[in-house]
């Protein structure tokens, strides 16, 4: 297989599957299509890994070498305007003048840009380097896995909805278009093409969020649409400004520049970062991602892990080397760090599991943005690693919460008490997923540690990350504590799940563990080459991956590090003890918990006791949520205000 075939497969196979899913409304056809597409996409991703390593770390595809019989640039422009027209039509249909206004403004700006002076399109249209490869792997491995999960989930979901006609063909078609657009977005080198794919993902996310068609779904979908259209508008302006500054639309040529403090280029970069902020739901644009919860679980899993929000941070990480070390970089870092601490604080007060996950996503994206803004070797390394680990763990956690919700009919954390008894399989997987977000030696914590060590030179950023990680600890440990609660004398019952769901979760949890154990392999194979390529010749502290990650300063001195591999090995040995402890507990030694009085006789759960005057008291214990201090309604307006100010300052310093 050559690179052209791989490229064509990565973009057109999901499109073909979308067409097939839309046309044939037979469950077995759909399931086969989803499964076969997943296999092909895994193979394509593997093919890219092989091809990239054997072609020296960069694959370039120029327009001429494609030998297309038509002008593909013109077709993209045509599609661009069709897309904007469609979005304007949606705005019209739902009586949202803002959306109409934003799309018309975008169309006018694009039209003026094309008409005034002939735009020279870049020669090389697709460039695949290690960062693209990482994104490709995330999109083409996690994405199809979520669609496989969705075949099981959507059946149950529609069963609850009592629809007359299944809407699954539409659902799966949009999912596949989404994956196709994401694949194209991370490979293209032409900024104006990237804009098109960017807008396709915006439209797809609207269609998916509003999929259920009820009032709330449509309302939240429209909010996602207008916020992301705002980002799209910033993207259009960025293209215009950057073209005027550099005379090119090629991302590769943009990256050859180092930012100078004056001129148009910084403004263009600032606008691109703004676009990234909207797509990655940074404060003050977080509301669309929170609203996206109304959609079926596979949609949230997809939006939060490998696609959509990752497109925003991908763009920022991509352009980060250009503004590394400048004031713009510092402001981006401050914006990201502020989002990290703000979102983590609000997450403490949430009892809705999906909202906790959403705020945690926003926080982690903030940390990625922050690291990209710092822009040093260690910081960029942390950003890329966090993109990988967060995508896997978060996809897993959303699928877990979705499964739990189907089973117990609630996504409230308090309702998950004693979940281990009802759903041992899902609970164990969910706990591993949560621990991987929180504790060493798993990847997410390692990146947080790297971020802290990289942020040491920026006090404001540093204090935000420090306080943010303390908050993170609070909301995760509360949740883990709740779902690990066991009743006295629990009777375990294995849950029955469709194979598509349980298999996906099992594979993802294995991925979480393996990527955690082998962090140095991942770092050496894909992250280190990207860092050395994009930060050529800057003398600074670098990372070294042997059995873990080590910070090595310019002078070759080791200034920090952790051998996570050995730590994992000891941990595994420890877990071998568990069955022994589990079995050695004899039933006659079991005692109910102490409840401020004698437990009632027939009390087999340890929840009731005899209170004074022969009354029976029922014990209920809730978590602390600190609604007064960390309440969403208290913090959000202030956080939005400050985040808005930070973005203003960001533009203030570049203009």
């Amino acid at each position: 297989m050559d690179k052209y075939t791989l490229l064509a497969l990565a973009i057109f196979i999901p499109l073909l599957s979308a067409f097939l899913c839309y046309t044939f409304n037979k469950p077995w056809v759909r399931n086969t299509v989803v499964f076969v597409t997943a296999l092909i996409m895994f193979a394509v991703a593997g093919g890219f890994v092989y091809y990239l390593i054997h072609s020296g770390g960069k694959i370039e595809i120029s327009l001429e070498s494609l030998h297309l019989p038509f002008d593909v640039g013109f077709i993209f422009k045509l599609f661009d305007f069709l897309l904007l027209a469609y979005i304007a039509d949606i705005g019209m249909k739902h009586k949202k003048p803002l959306i109409v206004f934003l799309s018309v403004l975008q169309a006018v700006a694009l039209l003026v840009f094309e008409l005034v002076g002939s735009v020279k399109e870049p020669h090389v249209v697709f460039v695949i380097d290690y960062l693209s490869l990482i994104m490709l792997l995330l999109v083409s491995v996690i994405g199809p896995m979520i669609t496989i999960f969705a075949t099981g989930y959507m059946k149950e979901h529609e069963h609850h909805q009592h629809l007359e006609k299944s809407r699954q063909p539409r659902f799966f078609a949009i999912l596949f278009i989404f994956l196709s657009a994401m694949n194209a977005l991370v490979m293209t080198n032409n900024l104006s093409w990237m804009l098109f794919f960017w807008e396709v993902t915006t439209l797809c996310s609207f269609l998916l969020i509003s999929h259920d068609g009820n009032e709330k779904a449509v309302k939240n979908g429209l909010r996602a649409l207008w916020i992301n259209m705002l980002g799209g508008l910033a993207f259009v302006f960025a293209i215009i400004v950057i073209y005027n500054a550099l005379g090119t639309l090629s991302l590769e040529e943009l990256l050859r520049n180092r930012m100078v403090s004056a001129g148009l280029l910084p403004v263009g970069l600032g606008l691109l970062c703004f676009a990234g902020f909207t797509k990655s739901a940074q404060f003050p644009f977080q509301s669309w991602l929170l609203g996206a919860m109304v959609a079926p679980t596979p949609v949230s899993a997809l939006l939060h892990s490998s696609t959509m929000v990752k497109a925003g941070v991908y763009l920022i990480v991509r352009i980060a080397p250009v503004f590394s070390g400048t004031t713009l970089g510092t402001m981006v870092a401050v914006a990201g760090a502020f989002t990290f601490v703000g979102a983590s604080a609000i997450a403490i007060s949430q009892s809705n599991g999906k909202r906790v996950l959403a705020y945690s996503t926003i926080a982690n994206l903030g940390l990625i943005v922050c690291c990209a803004g710092i822009g040093s070797y260690v910081a960029l390394g942390a950003a890329v690693l966090l993109m990988i680990f967060h995508a896997i763990s978060k996809a897993l956690l959303f699928l877990c919460v979705g499964t739990i919700e189907l089973e117990i009919g609630s996504r409230d954390i308090e309702d998950m008490q004693g979940l281990f008894k009802k759903m041992p399989f899902t609970t164990v997987i969910a706990v591993i997923g949560m621990i991987s977000m929180l504790l060493p030696p798993f990847g997410v914590l390692l990146t947080k540690w790297l971020a802290l060590e990289a942020a040491v030179k920026l006090p404001l950023v540093l204090i935000c990350i420090i306080i943010g990680s303390a908050f993170t600890l609070v909301f995760w440990s509360k949740w883990i504590g709740i779902i690990l609660t066991l009743s006295f004398h629990a009777k375990y019952k294995m849950e029955k799940l469709p194979v598509a769901m349980s298999a996906t979760m099992a594979v993802l949890v294995l991925a979480v563990i393996f990527t955690g154990v082998d962090i140095s392999m991942i770092f050496n194979a894909v992250v280190a080459p990207f860092l050395t390529e994009s930060l050529k010749g800057l003398p600074e502290t670098v990372l070294n991956g042997t059995n873990g990650l080590w910070l090595v300063s310019e002078s070759g001195r080791m200034v920090g590090g952790f051998s996570s591999f050995y730590f994992f090995m000891i941990l595994f040995l420890l877990f071998l003890l568990y069955p022994y402890i589990f079995r050695s507990s004899k039933a006659e030694l079991w005692k109910p918990p102490y409840l401020c009085g004698a437990n009632t006789e027939e009390d087999f759960k340890g929840l009731e006791f005899n209170a004074p005057a022969d009354t029976v008291e029922h014990v209920i214990v809730h978590n602390y949520y600190f609604a007064g201090a960390f309440g969403e309604a208290n913090i959000t307006p202030w956080a939005n205000f400050i985040a808005g100010a930070i973005i203003m300052i960001m533009f203030g310093v570049v203009i």
Partner: protein
């Protein structure tokens, strides 16, 4: 290379064996001094060891099958943190591993449906939220002073004199001593557990642990105590014996504070720790930036 590895293994082995002995003795002395301050004669100094042996031999009553696992996890991560400290590893990572140890105890307390144990666990979480930022700031201060996150092995220079860390980080040290009171569960910050079973919290986070489980938790506290005293020593460790002496003086001060103060509320603690602890440590760090 082999000699280095052998030395590391010996250090870890010595740590695992000696730390609980030192920790247990210090706990015994703590109880004796506390008793004298309250005009009691107090238990013998070896009493903590008798208690431990007694607890280990008790009937293994359990509320559920996972408790022991969490207690062992609590112990394991504390030992790991101490071993990494003695080997001179990355201090920030040592803090995270210490946090993992505390989280294990919290999960163990939350795994039973007992109101007291759960409330104790929630309060413990609040405590972590309060002290963790100050500890991380301490590491940042040490980095700014030494240029590295890897700490010098404690016994690397026994007798040579040199500039102690305290010279650059006096305020960070004060903030650290302040949060140490929380970490050691001393009054006024002992609200996640209490030494007396007849208060509003019963025994808080450890209410539902008994027998061998409780022994494991007690053992963990000894390891933790040695680690904290080691951290204090680190501020003065040129030469190391001065550091050890000052660490013991600080521990005595903690005992005095424990005996002269009453338990405060968690809200007060959170505010006080963040404003005083973070404020003081940050002041120190800002002057290091400007230097």
């Amino acid at each position: 290379m082999d000699i280095v590895i052998l030395k590391d293994i010996l250090t870890v082995a010595a740590t695992i064996i000696l730390a609980p002995i030192i920790g247990g003795l210090l706990t015994g002395i703590d109880r004796k001094i506390t008793a004298r301050m309250q005009s009691r004669s107090g238990p013998p100094i070896l009493q903590p060891f008798y208690d431990l042996i007694k607890l280990l031999g008790k009937e293994r009553l359990i509320v559920n099958q996972t408790q022991m696992m969490f207690a062992l996890g609590h112990l394991f991560f504390a030992v790991a943190a101490l071993a990494m400290f003695m080997l001179g590893q990355d201090l920030l990572m040592i803090l995270f591993i210490m946090a993992f140890s505390s989280i294990m105890l919290i999960m163990g307390a939350m795994s039973v449906r007992s109101p007291y144990s759960k409330i104790g666990a929630q309060r413990e979480i609040v405590q972590i939220m309060a002290y963790e930022p100050v500890l991380i700031l301490m590491v940042v201060g040490i980095f700014l002073s030494t240029g590295s996150f890897m700490i010098r092995p404690l016994f690397s220079d026994m007798f040579s004199f040199g500039k102690p860390l305290l010279y650059d980080l006096p305020l960070v040290f004060i903030a650290f001593i302040y949060v140490l009171t929380i970490k050691l569960r001393k009054s006024p910050f002992d609200f996640s557990t209490s030494h007396h079973g007849h208060q509003e919290l019963i025994k808080g986070i450890t209410t539902e642990f008994s027998g061998p489980q409780l022994a494991v938790i007690e053992l963990t506290h000894w390891y933790e105590l040695v680690l904290f005293l080691g951290l204090i020593t680190m501020f003065f460790a040129r030469p190391v014996w001065i550091g050890i002496g000052i660490a013991l003086i600080c521990y005595f001060c903690e005992i005095v504070i424990d005996n002269i103060s009453a338990r405060m509320t968690w809200k007060w603690m959170l505010q006080a720790t963040w404003i005083v602890g973070i404020g003081v440590a940050m002041t120190n760090i800002i002057w290091l930036y400007l230097k």
